[in-house]
Symmetry: C2
Subunit: 279 residues, 2 copies
């Protein structure tokens, strides 16, 4: 595995400001950082991302990967982030042949954060078939319990989204960012940079909504189960059907709404019915 | 005021799907619509928006306005949306001279929905100075109470953001969309198309987070008070300082956190302290 030159330009995720509360009291409040990072691929300006800055190298790599702008891992030579100039320079030996065509079309999606997918969102050809991953209700509940130990930034500052790579109920990796898609892309970037064959994720969790491009990005990561504490949109459901993604929406406490669950969800831990138990 | 040829291509905001709940019961669940709409300005493809489709004509006009791609109202000739081909055709007599330059740069923001601002996000030159709008705590509370009558789609389907134009505690207009920025732009588009001088809004409300481009877009609408039930980010606070926007974050129930409130917030309705009253 060849060496990629990587900077380590991580910055604190939160800072404190003064706010006036409803009692007229001045309080110190932690807020989420939000930084501009302009991405250059072989010196060509691609985009400016607004990010928390927690793992910018993985973010830009994952972003380029998910946009189809970066080919083989072996071609990647360097990823250098310099916050002084708010720039990320990515160097690769080979650029995709259709780079110009991809950059010429934009789809502004409904996602938080990376609301842009270059090329036509729904023209997905490179997707490999997804596994028909099964999920047990008891495993889902344990996974949601395990996730409770994360989302530090959200608890202190709010205004961020969290995403996690899980292997059944085990949380393999967790990232927060001001943009939900930054979090997705950072996870994808870490996964791709690490090239870990072991501990491969089979469940993706997000605090955000299951919109079209969330389903698309998770499918691109080869993951067939997508869990969210939020709701779904029409195109999210359509794409999940098309790619074979099991959606678990509104997963909070013991509640959830499973979509495309036929034969894949084992209801082995149904809660006892209690009045007022339903949302 | 010259006539603009406008289609009326509104579509239902929600549809129903089958979901399996935690009790293994199949239920009908309303979900938010999400549709692709490709925007053409004088036959030039600009962008594809993912939207609820509730008011597409106002959306594309507001989008173009907020991106600085549409000049005078008198130049606008037609806005025709055709869902059959998922296209919106906007015809104007005059295009901005720097159109190509604007389209060549992208900032992917942290906003839900329209996560793209053409041109450099922070290079704002055309902003007129904002009024130093005052806000009374009692007015804020009445406004929040009045807003309770809205957000239909959210209540039934979730997965949408709501935005409102208010004049003090009076709700003038309210829009929901799968993308928070679609909602902002739809309100801006309606305001601009109607050219209403009376009932001009002086408070903007959003369910979404106060990130950099939310503050930017609201400032572009000439509104100096921005209220959200969510939190703020670093650049949102920085831009609000720069533009003179009073931020009211985490406005839920009687709670809120005011930022840049010096001399502009009249605390005339402080709640009685109760234990457990603080978040």
């Amino acid at each position: 595995m060849h060496a990629i030159s990587l900077s380590q330009a991580r910055l604190p995720a939160t800072l404190e400001i003064d706010v006036t509360d409803e009692y007229g009291q001045l309080r110190r409040q932690a807020i989420a950082a939000e930084r501009a990072l302009t991405l250059y691929l072989n010196k060509r300006e691609i985009v400016t991302l607004m990010t928390l800055g927690a793992d910018p190298e993985a973010l830009v790599v994952g972003y380029l990967r998910n946009q189809g702008l970066l080919g083989e891992r072996g071609d990647l030579q360097a990823v250098h982030v310099d916050w002084e100039v708010e720039a990320a320079a990515v160097v690769t030996r080979r650029l995709p042949e259709d780079l110009e065509a991809r950059l010429s079309q934009r789809t502004v999606t409904t996602g938080c954060g990376q609301g842009t997918v270059f090329g036509r969102l729904l023209e997905v050809t490179s997707l490999t078939a997804l596994p028909r991953t099964q999920l047990r209700q008891s495993v889902l509940y344990r996974m949601l319990d395990n996730l409770g130990a994360y989302n530090e930034t959200y608890r202190s500052a709010g205004a961020v989204h969290g995403c996690a790579l899980c292997r059944q109920d085990t949380v393999l990796d967790f990232v927060e960012d001001v943009g939900r898609h930054n979090a997705v892309d950072t996870l994808a970037g870490r996964q791709w940079l690490a090239q870990s064959d072991s501990d491969t994720a089979d469940v993706f969790y997000t605090t955000g909504r299951l919109t079209s491009e969330m389903v698309l990005k998770v499918a691109q990561m080869g993951i067939a189960v997508l869990v969210s504490r939020s709701g779904v949109t029409q195109k999210g459901v359509e794409l999940a059907q098309r790619f074979g993604v099991l959606l678990i929406a509104r997963a909070k406490g013991r509640h959830f709404q499973a979509i495309h669950a036929e034969g894949r969800l084992d209801l082995d831990a149904m809660p006892a019915r209690r009045p007022g138990d339903r949302r």
